[in-house]
Subunit: 193 residues, 4 copies
């Protein structure tokens, strides 16, 4: 763990770090993820490219950190005592977040994961898996209470739910709204019982 011990030399500038994160979301919203470049990021943040490369491993990593800063890193796992209420709340929160300004970011990250295997692994583990696990946990608790079938494959059910979310996010064939959250909740619970 970080004991606060530091070597000699100028410490890393928290200011520079923050400047980049503050600038990345507006830039993506303005011109899309595809048009996001390290060069533009550095210019807009008033930071040198070198500094960016010292802190991050590529633009996807920056975007991911910006995302984690915006949405709290750990997804919420409500525990009301009712699986249905918990799933409904979780889906509602999650879909609302994905449907807002973060949508472009998320879609861009998924795109990046297709083009860069290293980032794909990082994205899968640090982001996607955690979301799956959060929903899985909710369902697992429900199973403990006997609300869903003992034989239900909670991991698979969670995958179905997130798959549906991502499909809409990526394909944009229909809105990511409350209605959709409700339908997905119904699907998950119907399959779970």
């Amino acid at each position: 763990m970080d004991t606060g011990k530091r070597g000699p030399g100028r410490p890393r500038s928290v200011r520079a770090h923050e400047s980049v994160l503050e600038v990345v979301v507006p830039l993506i919203e303005a011109h899309g993820y595809g048009a996001l470049t390290i060069e533009a990021l550095a210019r807009r943040a008033g930071v040198s490219k070198q500094t960016i490369y010292r802190w991050w491993d590529g633009k996807a990593e920056i975007v991911m950190e910006a995302l984690e800063a915006a949405a709290a890193q750990a997804p919420p796992t409500p525990d009301s005592g009712s699986v249905e209420q918990d799933v409904r709340a979780f889906m509602s929160t999650t879909i609302a977040a994905a449907g807002g300004g973060n949508g472009r970011l998320l879609a861009g990250l998924m795109a990046e994961a297709q083009l860069d295997e290293t980032f794909a692994a990082s994205f899968r583990e640090r982001f996607l898996a955690r979301r799956l696990e959060a929903l899985g946990e909710i369902l697992e608790r429900g199973r403990g209470r006997g609300e869903i079938a003992a034989s239900a494959d909670v991991a698979f059910l969670a995958e179905i739910a997130f798959a549906a979310l991502w499909y809409r996010l990526l394909v944009r064939n229909a809105p990511l709204d409350g209605r959709f959250a409700g339908e997905l909740t119904d699907v998950v619970l119907k399959l779970a019982r």
Copy 2:
């Protein structure tokens, strides 16, 4: 439809067209979609860049045409008289295709769609929508025969199925195999009844 009518001038070279399509799949398989460049494509196909830009609007369009050439453009819609058998066959075929060499292409196209709105529309309409419709048709036929609930939302069910497929394709968290096809078929039918 093409009436065969042609203006003056040298006609487009079918050879050049085909050369490009033949070369694009091997190139993606070798270095990944992200590393695919028009420059390399032209070099390998023995075709000038200008010619590529004359025929296509970007590398994603080329890949999509190559895909349509490989997999027959229209997805199959089996009609055995049994919804269960039809869905099972459809999912099996579709997932097998996506799990093979075409996987990288498909993932690349979805990535491109996130980076380029123009291509996104084309991809949605010329590819994704047709697949959804094919599965929807199968389910619709089943409803006509009373095999599934009259109230079932077939478009939504088809979306769920393809969403699950795409999630695995993009995230690569688990294999796109026969077992997965079976599980998905069960999900769709369970929800449909």
Copy 3:
């Protein structure tokens, strides 16, 4: 020699030939010789590139023909009986022609001659040499009448005169006007006597 005999087949279109020549001068005047392209020439003349390549060997050849069409091909060799009057008239006419709209064309041709050895030979023989000879002839006649020194090197004197003209044409450090023509005439005669 051309006996008027012709083989079968459609004869060359005089219309196409003329269209090109009519269009080349305006194009050079509008955008300069450097910006003149076969492509633009064909477009503006409503002629195909193939046709241009059938008639000419490159854009410089076209420009040279246009020049020969504008200025009569053979330079005038006045013969008034007085060397001074003849030289004065010749220089005046020649410099006036070079100072007008033809200046850009001439300068462009000389530039082309530096970049293309084949054209250089053609330009030297079909254009430059003829001008030198014309002035040489005038001086030679003067020598026959004893107006200039028997030992004068008329070819060299003609070269001096044209050199001065070309320098001003190419460098554009001072105007190609009547005063310059007079000064040059004086130089030639002073050196000749």
Copy 4:
């Protein structure tokens, strides 16, 4: 003048700069000025195209700098006390320089000046005018000593001399040799007295 003051950032690479200048003359001698491309220049010098575009405004500027590096920028103005000796030495040196390997470069630059007005101005001021002035200075000194007529137009005489030189250089109708230098010297002096 350069005060040595420098802002932040990596300083320009002297190595890259020199590499380009070293490579440009051989390239022109090998294939001619017309065949000189920025692309080949970059390749041969082991320098990126971007770097070339950062330092220079076009290939003509590079060639001109190479020329200024080869031939000392300021032309020599001998001062022996005798106009005849000075002019003879000047013409001899100048013509020898033009007749050697630099001939192709010079001719190429003059061609470029016809195709690009911006470069023309630069060439006129930074190169041609300085040569004219050098010869003019020599003649002026001679006038001060009473060696040439008080009424002589030294600028015009210098123009005549350089015009003759350039004509031979561009037209290549006769050699740029010692004999020619002698003849030109005689012409200038004869006209000056």
